[in-house]
Symmetry: C2
Subunit: 459 residues, 2 copies
């Protein structure tokens, strides 16, 4: 099997063995086995544990080699010192892909044990994810090696944003946060010590993954900087890659070395490498996903000119400030657009930039204004502020925006602050691939990231 094909086995295995599956609820092997058994995974499942005959009604095997059928993926959860033997068994069984959840290797300085795994992997041509990781979550196939119960840590639904995180804990709590926000993902991968598979391998795989439209990454250190730059350079224009680097200050770098023992390297070296290779650098974790949601869903803008439409003056002003501060510019509509909007609005409405449809704006008024600016050659992108709470505005404004955005003629982002009523409407827009933000600064910097990413694509 080709190296990159083997990576597919981590996400869409037809058969999975859980080495260390257990009846004991506090054991990692218990939680992971039950994720496969009770979750969305629909392939074959084989618990491996020499001390059990069956687990939850499923026949249990003493050794992975005792299983008659072929195994696409083995998940190893047993103590570090017993891992080499289990990996060797997987090799003999010709398992192409192994996730090693177990810790106690490089991260505690045990290089000897870590190197033994590398030797075994090379000998049997096994691809390893881990060691010392939480593995994979794939909402499409149901692969879920998190050892945290869903009541404490929710899993996001099926989407098109992939997320790679060196740190499993950080990645998993971010997924939990994403679930609450109803942000969707294509795949999540934590690669821990990168004993074999590293960030560059994953990036190369995800670039080719048809379910993934944007790739997000949290790095602390990078195994092989040259490899990463090369791969990103080759692919970043095809699919946006957004990254954040932990350890941006010398104090942060010191903290990295306590955490994973990675060589963090100076932030400016990373920033330069990111820029050189077309990786979009985010300033915060939230920004990573703000950028990804816009880059995964919105078309390439023709230029940097943003038209703001609002039904609240204050938010129009703050958005104007942030569009300018983000390095974008304000569109100047054609006289034709102004005429169309002017005709649809009362005299006290402001038909400039921002277009202020005012506090008695209706869905109809939004429809006319949005249509006009979508057709306007002077407008490249649209920041659409909707205060859904305003009495004259009905909830069907969501249908109108979703419908007009569907043609993906120009990038549209929505800004809407509010409570539960507003959140329901925003989530409906998000499901229709219209990215929504509570506050202007986030929308503006995401539009700016989109513009900067796509600059090179324009003639």
């Amino acid at each position: 099997m080709a190296k990159q094909n083997k990576l597919g086995c981590f996400f869409s295995p037809k058969s999975v063995a859980v080495v260390g599956a257990s009846r004991e609820p506090r054991k990692i092997g218990h939680v992971i086995f039950r994720n496969f058994l009770e979750g969305k995974y629909s392939g074959k499942l084989f618990p491996v544990n020499p001390n059990a005959k069956s687990l939850f009604g499923v026949r249990c095997y003493r050794n992975v080699r005792d299983i008659k059928q072929g195994i696409d993926l083995a998940v190893i959860t047993i103590p570090a010192k017993t891992v080499p033997k289990a990996l060797e068994d997987c090799g003999k069984k010709k398992v192409p892909a192994v996730i090693i959840i177990s810790s106690g290797f490089k991260e505690i300085g045990n290089m000897e044990l870590e190197n033994r795994l590398k030797t075994i992997a090379r000998k049997y041509d096994i691809r390893i994810l881990g060691t010392n990781c939480i593995g994979v979550y794939d909402p499409y196939s149901g692969v879920d090696t998190f050892f945290l119960p869903p009541y404490k840590l929710e899993r996001p639904g099926k989407g098109d944003i992939a997320f790679i995180s060196q740190s499993g804990a950080l990645g998993s709590v971010v997924l939990d946060w994403m679930s609450m926000k109803e942000y969707k993902i294509s795949k999540f991968i934590s690669y821990g010590n990168a004993t074999d598979i590293d960030e560059s391998d994953l990036m190369e795989f995800l670039v080719r993954d048809s379910k993934t439209k944007a790739i997000c990454a949290y790095f602390e250190g990078v195994n092989d900087g040259r490899k990463l730059v090369e791969i990103a350079k080759k692919h970043s224009k095809k699919k946006p890659i957004i990254a954040i680097k932990g350890g941006a200050t010398s104090e942060g770098i010191a903290a990295v070395s306590s955490h994973t023992g990675s060589l963090a390297g100076e932030a400016r070296i990373y920033s330069a490498a990111f820029e050189q290779s077309g990786i979009i650098e985010a300033g915060t974790l939230e920004e990573v996903f703000d950028f990804a949601r816009v880059l995964a869903t919105q078309p390439v803008p023709k230029g940097d000119k943003v038209q703001i439409i609002t039904n609240g003056g204050g938010f129009g002003i703050l958005t104007t400030d942030w569009i300018v501060k983000s390095g974008l510019s304000l569109a100047d509509m054609t006289a034709k657009s102004k005429g169309i909007i002017r005709k649809a609005c009362p005299p006290y409405a402001s038909v400039k930039n921002p277009i202020d449809l005012t506090g008695d704006a209706t869905t109809e008024r939004y429809a006319i204004a949005l249509k006009a600016v979508l057709d306007d050659p002077n407008v490249d992108m649209i920041a659409l502020i909707i205060l859904f709470q305003i009495p004259t505005l009905t909830a069907d404004v969501v249908d109108v925006v979703a419908e007009l955005a569907r043609a993906r003629k120009k990038p549209i982002v929505v800004i809407a602050a509010g409570g539960r009523y507003t959140e329901v409407l925003k989530k409906s827009l998000e499901r229709n691939r219209v990215p929504c933000f509570s506050y202007p600064e986030k929308a503006a910097s995401a539009l700016s990231a989109l513009y900067n990413y796509s600059k090179g694509d324009r003639p």
Copy 2:
């Protein structure tokens, strides 16, 4: 009645007249009357409408002067041209405080009508809030002049943060957002055209208000800059005032002039005036309330040294980066503290800054570490990262943190990203006056604002 005493009538009136109360559900006077009737307001209530005998079983009056009892507050919702007559009636009735919701005055250039109101107010010594505003929301007294139904726009509960907003729409949707976050407030005031009462009057009132511990403000322009600077200078050290200015760029300033016709003035002039008068300037609306939650609840730090405690390495690193980027410094614990924490933790825990209690941290471990750093003379502030999702950590960590924070020995902020389970625990901490954040950058800049605000207070 003294001028400032009259301001009290806007928030705690014993009797309220709604001029323009109506049976027609789409009328503003209908919604406001029902807010008083069906909400938490428990004083006397008098609808005024010449065309009705009674409204929802309450006797209706033709004119405010027909009411026998004294009226503390009148809310006027009738069309602009009929407002002077109604205000004159309020004057004759000796109503001390009048909210004029109605628009159609200065904001559309009708200075003549606006000036007539000023003259009447002076003649009868009436204090006016408005015109062209959404008025007041006070969770303690139940005064609620918002004309938006609660299912669309929720109201926050009783707290100690006051919020003044020139823009009613902006202010009200932010309150809706605050409700969802369970941020609490003491009072909300939108003052619209500032026909009489302006931002400085409100600030002076709120400084003396025992329910308010921090004052937040959104300005577009300021009526009388000198007055604001003087009042803020006098009071800002007693109670933190946090402001954001709409119109920070020349493009934003142009948008302000379309919105309220205020003279916005250059951002740097405002920034200088804010700094000179001790007003804390926030960069974003979210930051306004991040700062307020920390400044209203946390004690004055002795210095800028922050100790980070975490159970997730990645978040520890990002927090380190942001503490440094925010201009604060990392604490260096005493050997005694290190010894205490070292003894309570497994050997792979890191007892530096950040303290990494690791992925198997327990409530017990948090208790020991937090207690040690609270007692440590080298630590001024604490950034406490809690990944609640970690299997070994039980929910009672919330009780431990709340208990230790209660003594208000040192500022503590919590950083915890996650979904619904985590949000429940964070909201419990917030109720216990421990400010919580999802991501490090926000916690760090709020601690920085607290430190900078209190710098002057230290010997």
